[in-house]
């Protein structure tokens, strides 16, 4: 008699969950030393199940298929000269930002999942985290390959590792992961799976992916959708773990709430630059930051997920109202500040064209006309000195320059918070960032702040900073005066 094929659930239980064992050479506490570190109580680790029911066999088959699709597209880009098909090379300024922050971010996410897989004593979570750490490596490798192609033709892609490790702007994302990696395993899980994957990576990989497609950048279109398809599995892990922590013990509620408050705010701040990409850099625009925020964060997370969690006593993350208010403003703030820093960036900032302005006025009917268009007009004054003198002061927690406004006072009043700790004064861009510091001052005080280190001399002589960051002279400067722009215009004519 032929054996009946095992169902998905049985297969998963046999090949994943039931392969777990109890240690005999050491105690369980010795094997998982961080389980109690954060005060999270889980009574039955076997209650958790991964709804995706991934086994090694299905994982390898599905991922192999994804890789096959991706590499077919990537090779075609080389063959068909995809680097010339874009609406405008200005789109690549977004890719330069992406390569310098995301590659290192993906690699750190890989390490973070290894840490979670090692230290959370649930077979379902550990197995899911192992596959996810492999996913993250796949993302880094695919993205490096992708930028290899751009690097043959354009500036700003030749030294992403140095930009990622040393440049002042990339420090924002680096510090995000360093904070998560030095937290306990449950906080690490909330940081990556909730803060990034359930909430904010949608804006990076789905909205930005659609924008890449609209700008005929097939490479990023392909890489973003294949990357985000893994993130769907990661979201499930995040949601499963979040619910398990909440349901297992009422004592977990305040701890989980604190994780959610912290990592929602940290991820929100870290993604500010995505608003700049959607609203400014993209030559052809698909969705504004405001629209994307409403769809992916307000509808899906704040008014979707959190409605489901409120019966357990979980409320929306602290300062969510401020994030909703700021959706009108923050992309403009980032664009205005970056415009003044063309000498210290490895990509090309620029002022919006007439076409950009028309779109911005349509998408931001109130804030554009009353505030932000006026700020750009002021820059047109011939006496205006574009280059920002000196180094920007950065927030101790999120490490962005202190350029965000007081809540409710957009455009006119930069927010400024301080805390004193052991006789030292620390500076913050917002209440959200100040709260995070005040809760763990001895951790956050250790942050490596680029302007401070530059002044201390850690980064070598000031006149040699560009070299320290890995920059070539053609990397910076205004987009419309750049070699990239000139070349693209020239190549476009040849191709036409």
């Amino acid at each position: 008699m032929a054996k009946k094929k095992r169902g998905l659930k049985e297969e998963y239980n046999l090949l994943t969950r039931d392969l777990d064992w109890d240690p005999t050479f050491v105690t369980r506490e010795e094997m998982y030393p961080y389980t109690d570190f954060e005060g999270i109580k889980i009574h039955n680790w076997n209650n958790l199940e991964d709804p995706f029911r991934v086994t090694v066999e299905s994982y390898v088959r599905i991922q192999g298929e994804k890789e096959r699709k991706f590499h077919a597209i990537r090779e075609n880009i080389d063959l068909l000269q995809g680097q010339l098909d874009m609406t405008d090379a200005r789109w690549l300024e977004a890719m330069k930002i992406f390569s310098s922050v995301a590659l290192n971010g993906e690699y750190n996410a890989h390490r973070l999942f290894q840490f979670i897989a090692r230290h959370v004593p649930s077979p379902a979570i550990r197995f899911a985290a192992i596959t996810q750490s492999v996913d993250e490596l796949r993302h880094v490798q695919n993205e490096v390959l992708l930028f290899n192609n751009y690097n043959k033709y354009y500036q700003g892609f030749h030294d992403w590792k140095n930009y990622a490790h040393r440049h002042w702007l990339t420090s924002v994302v680096k510090s995000f992961f360093e904070d998560a990696q030095s937290a306990g395993p449950f906080e690490a899980l909330v940081a990556i799976a909730f803060g990034f994957e359930v909430a904010f990576t949608n804006l990076l990989f789905v909205t930005m992916g659609a924008t890449a497609v609209a700008n005929r950048d097939q490479s990023y279109g392909a890489v973003s959708f294949t990357t985000q398809s893994d993130e769907s599995r990661h979201m499930t892990l995040g949601m499963m773990a979040l619910r398990a922590m909440i349901e297992e013990d009422p004592d977990n509620i305040p701890i989980v709430q604190k994780f959610l408050d912290k990592w929602f705010w940290k991820a929100y701040r870290a993604f500010t630059v995505v608003g700049y990409i959607l609203d400014y850099i993209a030559p052809k625009k698909v969705m504004s930051w405001k629209e994307a925020y409403e769809m992916y964060i307000e509808d899906q997370v704040l008014n979707g997920l959190f409605k489901d969690l409120e019966v357990y006593g979980i409320r929306k993350p602290k300062y969510w109202e401020q994030t909703v208010q700021e959706k009108e403003h923050n992309s403009h703030i980032a664009a205005l500040v970056l415009y003044r820093l063309p000498h210290v960036l490895y990509f090309h900032p620029f002022a919006p064209t007439e076409e950009d302005k028309k779109w911005l006025a349509e998408k931001y009917p109130e804030s554009w006309e009353n505030i932000w268009s006026k700020k750009w007009e002021a820059f047109e004054d011939p006496n205006f000195d574009r280059l920002y003198p000196g180094l920007p002061m950065v927030c101790q927690t999120c490490q962005y320059p202190m350029f965000f406004d007081e809540p409710g006072q957009p455009g006119f009043n930069t927010a400024f918070r301080t805390s004193e700790h052991e006789g030292e004064v620390y500076h913050f861009c917002s209440d959200g960032c100040k709260d995070i510091f005040d809760d763990e001052p001895d951790k956050i005080k250790q942050a490596w702040l680029p302007p401070h280190e530059i002044f201390k001399g850690t980064c070598g002589p000031a006149e040699d900073l560009a070299n320290y960051w890995g920059m070539e002279p053609e990397d910076g400067g205004d987009y419309y005066e750049s070699v990239d722009h000139q070349n693209f215009e020239k190549w476009k004519k040849v191709r036409a």
């Binding site: 169902g7 998905l8 659930k9 709804p51 995706f52 029911r53 299905s58 599905i62 298929e65 994804k66 699709k69 949608n202 990989f205 789905v206 992916g209 659609a210 924008t211 890449a212 497609v213 609209a214 279109g221 959708f225 985000q228 398809s229 993130e231 769907s232 599995r233 979201m235 499930t236 949601m239 619910r243 698909v286 969705m287 509808d299 899906q300 997370v301 008014n303 979707g304 997920l305 409605k307 489901d308 969690l309 409120e310 019966v311």
Partner: protein, 98 residues
């Protein structure tokens, strides 16, 4: 017809453009009520109020080929709601506390 309000909320999937996604969309439209479809460059968002079911049998019918529920992973790029059930025959996405 259920209306979206304080408690009744959409759940949804973002599907990358590919032939399988079209079959999944048709299956969802056939097997669920209040389905909303929005197209974007490169992907499509499909949503239903509170609960969305994908049946293997329906997808296979529209695709005209074999399709395993785990193959959803090749098409789905993002989703929201809880994965309430996922077995060989169907996938259920829902909010639990409506």
């Amino acid at each position: 017809m259920t209306q979206v309000n304080e408690r009744n909320r959409y759940v949804g999937l973002d599907l990358t453009n590919c032939p399988e996604s079209e079959a999944i969309l048709e299956a969802i439209e056939q097997d669920n009520e209040n389905v909303k479809i929005t197209r974007f460059p490169g992907y499509v968002k499909v949503e239903a109020i509170n609960r969305l079911v994908i049946n293997k049998e329906s997808v296979e019918e529209f695709l005209g080929d074999d399709w395993e529920t785990e193959d959803l992973q090749l098409a789905v790029t993002s989703y929201y709601g809880f994965m309430a059930d996922w077995d060989d025959e169907h996938i259920v996405l829902q909010w639990d506390n409506v």
